[in-house]
């Protein structure tokens, strides 16, 4: 009798497991599985959140979105630094009115993937028109969507903010209202008028989340748009088990696209170009993505050829790489290839420069010489080399400049003015009166207890940073307290300027230096400026730079701003990580995208030889 119950329980589980998948777009009824064709299997190390472009902000959701939706512009696959290229637009925007008006013309004959939302239309599908972009951009400012990327458009487009304001009051966003700065004068023309000159707005239009969604689909799926992306891009979502499995299949009605890119002056680029040039896109029929949290699992899976491409195995790098960044011969011998690039990101240690944290004095904040000296000493004592060598396992490069490689405004030859020198740091602290008390730790010059608070999240990785921080500061006799909190809580505290010291990472939203320099802009305190750094010298230069296109003058300003930040020691720039992408021998055409976009549509799978 007990057994009967047990079997009932198993049956129940089976039923549940069968219902375990979320309903995929119901139109997909053909045996897509049987004629899967070329399949690319890969992993995400962090669970995605969903595929509604205005509702997500995480890297991995962004990748999938970039494969399903089309933005107006895109970047050349191979060219570095990143080079803008038309996508749905027939050409790059016409910028008139001194950088205030952007006009684009759309390709004709691009269709959304068939979906029941288009009921009544032939083949259940509809052509993409300029009004779709108007709608899609408006959605970013709809308060109900609480879009993490609203800032891309906030305060930028004439009349749009007023509409958002009205929506906040009425509780309903009026999508039918006419916005002066966002018009579709005809079916295929889009005209955007900006509130002030911005020569970088094209990057926004190339941003993968600024893809066209169809109003019918959005309204049809209501709260569930995250699971029902309906786009025009090369892929569509075929099967979706949230936080576990995402399967994309080739959009059967994809517009004609052919592989073309501008290879750089290197063998790898040239080889890709030779193998791919002119091929019809996409070549890969199916992309299967599994979410795997643990690096050990991902590495084991790749090695057993359960995955074709492995994006990030930072802490396991020594397993397959030699110290000088090459794939170990035993793997290279199997034909496995490694594509190494530096991510468009910076990692930095920020110091809270405000004199008070909450209502308590901040021993680290302020701009008097002894406060700067303390920050400088911490910066000089922090052992970046160990961070790179031991925590990153060598998989990072030193960051000297706030703008990382591959992003417009990066200065490869820039020389930093703060070097690792704990002995000098000690001497500096002695000089400014941070005397050591009986227990060997230093006091503040006024004799008060000195204790620095370093914040991190409760992960094993962050524990290593904690250890390094403690080692570094112990070396100069500064007592540090490690505070742990959940990620969400840390963000909140950062925005409230309540973190004294923390590592932070900024990954490029678009490959332009402005995206990085704004992190130190005074008025961005409470938003992205976690150091709460306010320097009139910096701010004046930043404001000036915003009105400039990418140019030598702007770069000069950036250099000065960087130096100013160093002098005030608001940050210690530490590193930018390498991305060591591992490829099975038969994977063709991979090059790390310059921005956060999926490369799958540009790639191909060759013949698989037996191992």
């Amino acid at each position: 009798m007990t057994l009967v119950r047990v079997f009932t329980a198993i049956l129940l589980a089976a039923t549940l497991a069968a219902c375990g998948e979320r309903a995929s777009p119901p139109v997909v009824s053909d045996g897509a599985d049987s004629k899967a064709g070329k399949v690319l299997r890969l992993t995400f190390q962090v669970a995605e959140t969903g595929f509604d472009p205005v509702k997500v902000s995480d890297y991995y959701s962004g990748l999938v979105i970039s494969a399903i939706f089309d933005s107006l512009l895109t970047y050349d696959y191979l060219a570095r630094p990143a080079k803008l290229k038309p996508n749905i637009a027939t050409a790059l925007p016409r910028i008139t009115d001194d950088g205030k008006t952007y006009t684009l013309t759309l390709q004709q004959g691009v269709y959304f993937t068939p979906d029941p939302a288009f009921k009544g239309l032939p083949h259940n599908r509809r052509e993409l028109i300029a009004a779709d972009y108007v709608y899609s951009i408006k959605r970013f400012l709809d308060p109900k969507n609480r879009s993490p990327y609203a800032f891309l458009f906030e305060g930028k487009i004439v009349g749009l903010d007023k509409l958002a304001e009205a929506a906040k009051k009425s509780g309903r966003f009026d999508y039918d209202a006419v916005v002066a700065g966002l018009e579709a004068p005809d079916r295929y023309t889009l005209r955007i008028r900006l509130t002030e000159a911005d020569f970088n707005f094209s990057h926004v239009l190339a941003f993968s989340l600024v893809g066209a969604v169809a109003r019918e689909a959005i309204e049809a799926y209501g709260d569930d748009t995250n699971a029902h992306p309906v786009g025009t891009g090369p892929y569509r979502l075929q099967r979706y088990m949230p936080s576990s499995k995402i399967v994309l299949e080739k959009n059967p009605g994809v517009r004609d696209m052919f592989w073309h890119a501008e290879p750089g002056d290197n063998a790898a680029d040239l080889q890709i170009a030779t193998r791919m040039e002119g091929k019809k896109l996409p070549q890969i029929d199916r992309v299967e993505i599994s979410v795997m949290d643990e690096a050990q699992s991902r590495w084991l899976a790749f090695q057993r050829r359960e995955t074709d491409i492995e994006y990030q195995l930072e802490e396991l790098a020594p397993k397959f790489m030699t110290m000088d960044g090459k794939l170990k011969p035993e793997y290279a011998g199997q034909g496995i290839r490694m594509e190494r690039s530096v991510d468009a990101e910076i990692i930095y240690l920020f110091f809270n420069t405000q004199e008070k944290i909450g209502d308590k004095p901040n021993p680290l904040g302020g701009f008097t010489p002894e406060k700067i000296a303390l920050r400088r000493a911490v910066a000089m004592a922090y052992n970046i080399e160990d961070q790179i060598k031991i925590i990153r396992k060598g998989q990072a490069i030193r960051a000297y400049y706030p703008i990382p490689p591959g992003v417009a405004g990066h200065e490869p030859q820039y020389r930093n003015s703060i070097a690792y020198d704990p002995r000098l740091a000690n001497a500096l602290l002695d000089k400014f009166g941070y005397r050591r008390s009986a227990d060997g730790y230093r006091q503040q010059p006024d004799g008060k207890y000195l204790i620095l608070k370093y914040y991190s999240s409760p992960s094993e990785r962050d524990r290593q940073f904690d250890e390094l921080m403690k080692r570094s500061l112990d070396a100069i006799g500064v007592r540090v307290e490690i505070h742990k909190d959940r990620f969400a809580e840390l963000i909140k505290l950062a925005n409230q300027c309540r973190l004294m010291m923390k590592h932070a990472t900024w990954i490029a939203d678009y490959p332009d230096g402005d995206n990085f320099m704004q992190l130190l802009y005074g008025p961005n305190t409470g938003q992205t400026n976690s150091a709460c750094y306010r320097s009139s010298a910096f701010d004046a230069r930043y404001e000036k730079s915003r009105r400039m296109p990418d140019s030598a003058q702007r770069n000069q300003l950036y250099r000065e701003m960087t130096r100013q930040m160093e002098v005030d020691t608001a940050w210690l720039l530490t590193d930018s990580r390498y991305r060591n992408v591992l490829l099975q021998p038969y994977v063709i055409g991979y090059k790390k995208s310059a921005v956060n976009a999926a490369e799958w549509m540009y790639m191909d799978i060759g013949a698989k030889e037996p191992r």
Partner: protein, 342 residues
């Protein structure tokens, strides 16, 4: 008058239990092992051994001595760019420039870096710290965490269980309600929630998390014991002679359920030592100023696949030996304290 009597010492139940334990070979061996650990813990707590565990004495990931040294890695590929003076950008002044220049001049040439050992007895961790010393220090932390948390849990569970079981009625309903609320919430969420509430404060937090979430089993057992004992004739007899409730609860009943409490204490020490590992995995382990078996196992998670197995092996062995001995000792304790043997 009592002075007239020859004071024959008569073995109490505890003494009898000890006699029985003395005859239990496995139990005695376990006890000796546990005591040896306690000695190590005491020595570490007093700073006699492993006080310098944070010192980086070996090369990074120095292998254990018996495994032989690794080939020295090629010299660092990181060649930092030379530093620049701030003044090379117009209009930017470093207020510390003069001071620094002066100090720099005063500093003698950097002394040579101390040579680091290529191997260590049980290997080294990523910073080159001695795994042997870490294990010793970790033993201290883990055992202290386990014991103090077990004491806390036992204290909470026993007091609440005694009140619930002894008084019954409303008091029992109320305490049982708290119990069922605590046991209904998934343990993982309870731990994460309490961890979030307590905020990270190191070892004490770990103890509090374990103690505040781990008392429920003890509560249930102690309550059942009190329910059983409160109707026993010796308690009725104590009532009949006019003892107070508190006297009956603690002077009369408690000694008779103390063997249950003692066994639970011992069980929970083991349980909490193991739970500490999971807490570490969740990021709520001890702080960086100290080291525990949990933090070591957690570190070694990614090391194993790199072939650096020694930290995992050392922590696992140290833990397995103690926990095994402690469990066997608990078994022996349970046997010798079994009231059926009276």
């Amino acid at each position: 008058m009592s002075a007239v009597m020859t004071h024959e010492t008569s073995p109490g139940l505890w003494a009898l239990a000890w006699r029985r334990l003395r005859r239990d070979r496995v139990g005695m061996v376990s006890l000796v092992v546990v005591c040896a650990y306690l000695v190590v813990v005491a020595a570490a707590a007093l700073g006699w051994i492993a006080a310098d565990w944070p010192r980086e004495v070996g090369v990074n990931y120095a292998p254990p001595g018996f495994a032989g040294a690794d080939a020295p890695p090629p010299q660092g590929s990181l060649t930092p760019l030379p530093t620049a003076a701030a003044a090379d950008e117009p209009g930017i002044v470093d207020p510390l420039a003069d001071v620094l220049a002066e100090l720099r001049k005063g500093l003698a040439a950097a002394p040579d870096a101390q040579a680091r050992a290529a191997t260590l007895p049980l290997g080294g961790d990523k910073w080159g710290r001695d795994v042997l010393k870490k294990v010793v220090k970790g033993t201290e932390t883990s055992l202290v965490v386990g014991m103090v948390a077990a004491l806390l849990a036992v204290l909470i569970g026993t007091v609440l269980g005694a009140y619930a079981g002894y008084y019954g009625g409303r008091m029992d309903d109320f305490l049982n309600w708290i119990y069922s609320v605590f046991t209904s919430i998934p343990y993982l969420l309870l731990v994460l929630a309490i961890a979030a509430v307590l905020n990270q404060k190191g070892t004490l937090t770990v103890i509090l998390i374990l103690g505040l979430t781990g008392w429920t089993g003890i509560f249930r057992l102690v309550r059942a014991e009190y329910l059983k004992h409160r109707t026993r004739e010796y308690v009725l007899a104590a009532d009949a002679i006019g003892t107070s409730n508190a006297q009956r609860m603690f002077a009369h009943i408690f000694p008779n359920v103390s063997h249950v409490v003692l066994v639970q204490l011992s069980l929970h020490v083991v349980l909490f030592i193991k739970s500490e590992v999971i807490l570490s995995f969740l990021g709520f382990g001890v702080g960086v100023e100290t080291v525990s078996w949990g933090s070591m196992l957690n570190e070694s998670q990614s090391e194993l696949i790199l072939g650096k197995w020694w930290q995992l092996a050392a922590a696992t062995t140290a833990m397995a030996v103690l926990v095994t001995a402690f469990s066997l000792f608990t078994d022996a304790l349970r046997d010798v304290l079994d009231p059926r043997l009276k």
